[in-house]
Symmetry: D2
Subunit: 346 residues, 4 copies
C-alpha cells in the first residue's frame, strides 16, 4: 500500500520522540500489514522515550515506537498461510528465530536470538504496522480493540499468576502498576481466595480494589510483612507475585511466603539485591521463579477466553485514552504513576 | 459422656434402616466425641440403605450410618493433641493406617489398609459421633454447619476439577448429581471459561445453571458429542469431569476431549466399559485420570477457603433439609433424583 | 541435483513394493535434500507394505516408503536458514502445520493438520530424500548413522518412559518389539530400579535382558499379574509402559499398576478394549496416559545426548542390516518377529 | 532394658564432646529402642561439636550427639504398630508434629513445629538409641549397615537432584563434600548425561570422578563459568545443584544455568548474598529452588531401591571408619576436608 502515515518516531539518542509522516510500510515474505485500531503504552516504551541505558543498548535509530496493538489486516506478504485480509488481530511481540534450542523445545518466549517488536523493529505507534505471521493472534470479534491491545501485558500477568497455581490460595502481589493491576484481576479470575496488594500509590491501590484485591496496603507507611502474617493465620502467603522490581518489595515479598510456598518475579530490579537465602529460601523450601514475557501462545488462549467469556473486566485498569498525537501526555502520566493502562488511538 | 442418643442404625442385611436409641459412645485414645450439628446424605449411604452388593461386602451389622458431618467437640480421648473441647469441626472420612507405602508417601487417601467412617465404623447419622483425631478438620466459625457438612463431597469435586487444571479452559462435566453440581461451582470458582454440563434430569440441569454452567444439555435427547464440538470451535473440550459412572457418559465424554486434553473419572461404573483406546486416547495423547476420595488435606484447605471467603455459594445445591427422623424421605428423594444435597439435622 | 536414484516405491494398492529407478527430487522452499546413509524399518512401513486398512486410508500411490533416516545434506531449497550443506542429520517425521491450536501451544506432535514423512509424502527408503527444514535434526558427528537413524523410534520410547517418571521406580514393559526394546534401554538409563518385561517371543526376551531388563516373562505360559505382584513386595509396579497394542497386555498391565501409579499406552490396539475402570483405574487413582509420536524436540535432545555420551547402547537392538535391495527380507523378518531393529542401507 | 551404654555426649557450651557411660534409655509410647550398628558424621554434628551460633541456639545440654544411623530394634514402647523387635532399621531425623498445615498437606519435612533427632533430642552416637515410630525406616537386609546409615544424607542428595529432573540433562554440582559426592552418584543413577563438578579440594574431586562426574574443576584456579559454557555448547547447564553454601558457588552456579533452566540450593550460606535477579533469574526465566531435609518418605523409597538393586555404589564416598571412641579423629578430618563420609561404629 502506498502513501504516508502518522507515526511516533524515536529519532535521537536522548529524551523525547516525534509524531511524523512516514511511508506506509510494505509487508515482506511471512509478514502482514495491519491498520492500527488501538495501541497502549508499556513501561518499556517509557524507557525508550526517556532513553535509559537499556534503550541505548537495544534500540537502533530512527525507529517507530510501540508494541501493544490491535488492528485489522489489510495486506499480506508472500507465503502467509494462516492470516487473511480483514482479520481482527493483536500481536505477540517476541519475534523468535524458530531454530534455537529454546524454540525447538517449546520455549520460544526465551529464544536465544530474540527480537522484540518496537524495540528491534519498527513498532505500532502509527496508523499502520507490520507484524510477523508467527506473532499474529486472532481476536474474537466481540472483544473491544482497547482490550485486545492490552492482551500482551495481560499475558505477562497471566504467566506470573499461573506460576503460583493460585486457585484456592492466599497470595501477595507487590506493585500495582498496569501489569500488577492486571495480575490482580487474573488472580481473582483464577480463584485465589485472598489477594493482598502492596502499592505505595493510593490511586493505584484504589484500582486494585476494583480489580478484586481483598486487602491493599501502603508499604511506605505500613509494615508489609506483619500485615501479611496477620492476614494469613500467622503462616504467610502461599505465593507472592512481584511486579515492581523494587528492592524492599522483593525482600519483604520473599519473607512473606510461607514454608513450601513460591514467589514469581516479573518486575526488573535495576541492581543486584541481597537475599537471605538460608532463612528465606532454603529452610522454607521456597521456589523463586523468574518470569519473562509470555509463553507462546498458551497465555494468549487464556487471555482471549477470559475476555471473550467476560470473566475478566479490564475497564478499571484502562484509565486514559488519548489520540496518538497526545502521546507525550501519556508518557508524562506513566512517569508520574497516577494511571493504569493508557490507550493511544491513531 | 453417659446416656442415650438417637441414631439411624443399619440392623439387617436387606433394604432399610431404623431410627433407634443407642448408647452415646466414649472416645478412645486418639479419638474425639462430637455433638452433631448437621449431616448430609451421600450416594454410598443410599447403597447401604438399599443394601447393594458393595454394601454387603463392606458393612458389618449393626452399624450407625452416615459420614458427612459438622459438629462441636464435647469430649476428648487420651493422647489427643490438636483438638480441644468446643472446636467446630468436620470429618475427613478416610481413616488411613499411617504406615503403608501410600501413607508414607503423601497418599493417605489411597491407604492400603483404609477404613471409611460410616462404612467400616459407626457413622454420624446420630446426635453424637466419634471421630479419629487424624480425621478432624477445624472449620472457620463463619461457615454454616450445613455447608461445613458438605465439605467432604465438595473435596471429591475439588480433587476431580483440580486434575483438569481448568483455569482458562473449556470443560465438560458429565453428570449433575450432588457431587457433579458441586463440581460445576468449583470449576466456576477455579476460572474455567466455559462449562458444559450433560445431565438427563431437568431439575438438576437447572441447578447446574445456578452453579455456573454456561451450557446444559440432555444426553438422552440431544447429541452430546456434536454439541460439545460445536461449542468449542470444533476442537473438543480441554477436560471432561465424569461424575456419573454412566457408560455412555464415559465413552462420549472421552470422545469429547481435544487432542492433548484430559479426563478425570470419579463416577463408578458398575461394569467394565469398552474404550476405543487407539482413537480416543493414544492418537489424541489424552490422559485418563482416576479420582478416589480427597487428597488429605489439600482439598480441605481449598474447600474451607472457598467457603470462608464466599467464593463458592452452596445454597443452590442444598435443596432439602430434614430432621434425622425423616431420613427415609431423604433416601427416597436421592433415589428419584429430583434433589441436590439433602441435609439431615439431629 | 539431476539424475536417477534407487528407491523402494509402493506402486499398487495391495501387498508388496518395488525397488525402482526414479528421479532424484529437488528441494522446494524450506526443504533440504539429503544423501541417505542409513534407514530403518518401522512397523508402519510393514503396514504400508502389506497394505492394511490404515495404509489404504492414508497413503496415496505411487509413493516412496520409509521415514527413519540419517544422512548428509547435499542441497538446500530457498529460505532455509538453520541447515547447511554437509550437515549430518536425521529426520523428525511429523510435518506440523505450525498454525493450529496444538502447534501454537507447544504440541506440534499432535498437530491438527499433521502430515507424516513416508506416509503422506515421499519417504527415505532411497538413495536421496527430501526433508522439511522444520524436521531436520542435527546429529553429533560421533554417532553412527545406524544409531542416528533409529533416534526417531527411540523418541517414542523416550516419550513413553518419561511419562512414568521412572527414576527410582519399579516398572513393567509389555511388549518387546523394537520400540519396546528401546524402552527397556531408556528405562535403564533413566534410573528405573526394577524393569520387568513381558514378551511372548523368546528371541526378543533375550535382547530385553541385554538392554537391561531385570526380569523377563512369557505372558502366554506364565501369569503376568501374579509375577508382577510377587516381584514388587505385593504392591504392583509404579508404572506400566504398554508397547504391544495387545488386549491382554493392556488389561493385565493396568491391573499390575499399584494404587497411585500410572500406565502409558503407545501400542495401538486394533479394536476397542473392555476396561474395569472402577477397580483398575478409579479406586486405585491411576493415570492412563496416551502417547503418540515424540514431543518436538525435547525427546530428540535426550536421544542425542544419550547416544553422544554413550549412556545407551543400541547395538543389542540392531539385529540385522541389509542393502536396500533386500528390503523384502527385512519385511519378512519384521512380520515373523525374530528381530529387533532392521537397518536398510542404500 | 536396664544397664549402661557408651555415648558421645555434648556436656558443655563450648568446643568438644565426651565419650561417657550413660543409662540405656527406655522407649516411651510410640517409640522404639535400637541397638546401633553404624552411625555416620554429618556437618551439623561438627557444628554442635565446635559449638557455633546455630548450635548454641538449638541444642539443650547435656545431649547425646548424632542422627545418621542404622541398627536393630530391640524393644518397643506402647502403641507401636508398624515396627517389631529384630527389624533392621534406619532413621528419618525430622520429627514432625503431624498436625500443622505442612504436616496435613504432605510436607512433613517442613513441619512448623519440627524437632530434629540429635539436635532437639538425644541422638545416636551411642550403643543404643531411641527412635520415634514415625521416623523408623525398614531396610532391606541385603544393605550393609554403613550404607543404611548414610541413607539420611543420601535423601538430601536425592531431593536436590530430583528438583532438577536431570534425566538426559547436563548439570553442574557446586561443592563435593559428602552430600555433594552423594549427589554426583545420584545424578549418574538418574540418567544425567553430563555432570560437571566444581570443588576446590583435590581429594574430593577425585572421589567425584569415581562417583560418575564427567568433568571436575577447581573453582579457585579455574574459571567456573567459562568452563561450563565451553562444555555445554555455549548454552549453560540445564540445572545446578548447589551443595556448598559458598557465595561464589551460588553466584557463578546461577550464572551457569541456561535460559529456562533451574538451580536447587541445599548448601547453607552464612550471610545474605547479592543476586543479579534481572540478568540471572528473570530474563532467563530460571527457577531457584530451596531444598531442606528430605521429603518423607519418597526419597527413602528411592534411596532404599538404589541400594538394594545396586544402582548406586556408595563405597567411594565412605572414606573412613572409626570406632565410636575415636570420634575426635572423625571431627578433625571433617574440619580439614580430606574425607568423604566418616562412619562411627559402636
Amino acid at each position: 500500500m502506498e502513501g504516508k502515515m502518522k507515526a511516533i518516531v524515536k529519532n535521537n539518542a536522548g529524551p523525547g520522540a516525534e509524531l511524523m509522516d512516514v511511508d506506509i510500510p510494505t509487508p515482506g515474505p511471512g509478514q502482514v500489514l495491519i491498520k492500527v485500531k488501538s495501541t497502549s503504552i508499556c513501561g518499556s516504551d517509557l524507557h525508550i522515550y526517556k532513553w535509559n541505558n537499556w534503550a541505548e543498548k537495544n534500540v537502533k535509530l530512527p525507529q517507530i515506537m510501540g508494541h501493544e496493538v490491535a488492528g485489522k489486516v489489510i495486506a499480506l506478504g508472500e507465503n502467509v498461510k494462516s492470516v487473511k485480509e480483514g482479520d481482527f488481530v493483536s500481536a505477540e511481540t517476541h519475534i523468535p528465530c524458530g531454530h534455537c534450542y529454546q524454540c525447538k523445545t517449546g520455549n520460544r518466549h526465551i529464544c536465544e536470538n530474540m527480537k522484540i517488536l518496537g524495540v528491534h523493529t519498527d513498532g505500532v505507534f502509527a496508523e499502520y504496522a507490520i507484524l510477523e505471521e508467527v506473532d499474529v493472534w486472532h481476536n474474537d470479534p466481540s472483544i473491544p480493540a482497547e482490550s485486545a491491545s492490552i492482551q500482551e501485558p495481560l499475558g505477562n500477568a497471566i504467566d506470573t499468576i499461573r506460576a503460583g497455581d493460585v486457585t484456592g490460595k492466599e497470595i501477595l502481589i507487590t506493585g500495582a502498576g498496569p501489569v500488577g493491576l492486571l495480575a490482580v484481576g487474573v488472580a481473582r479470575a483464577f480463584g485465589a481466595t485472598k489477594i493482598i496488594v502492596s502499592e505505595p500509590n493510593e490511586y493505584r491501590r484504589k484500582i486494585a480494589k476494583k480489580m478484586g484485591a481483598d486487602l491493599t496496603l501502603d508499604p511506605i507507611n505500613e509494615d508489609l510483612l506483619s500485615l501479611v502474617i496477620k492476614n494469613t493465620d500467622g503462616r504467610g502467603v502461599d505465593f507472592t507475585a512481584e511486579m515492581s522490581g523494587n528492592k524492599n518489595a522483593i525482600q519483604q515479598g520473599l519473607k512473606s511466603v510461607r514454608p513450601g510456598g513460591s514467589m514469581a518475579l516479573l518486575g526488573l530490579p535495576d541492581d543486584p539485591i541481597s537475599i537471605d537465602l538460608t532463612q528465606d529460601l532454603i529452610f522454607k523450601a521456597v521456589n523463586l521463579i523468574g518470569i519473562t514475557g509470555r509463553e507462546m501462545f498458551k497465555t494468549w488462549y487464556i487471555a482471549g477466553r477470559l475476555l471473550k467469556e467476560n470473566r475478566l473486566n479490564l475497564s478499571p485498569v484502562i484509565t486514559h485514552t488519548f489520540p496518538l498525537a497526545d502521546f507525550e501526555k501519556g508518557m508524562k502520566l506513566m512517569e508520574e504513576g497516577n494511571c493504569g493502562k493508557i490507550i493511544l488511538k491513531p
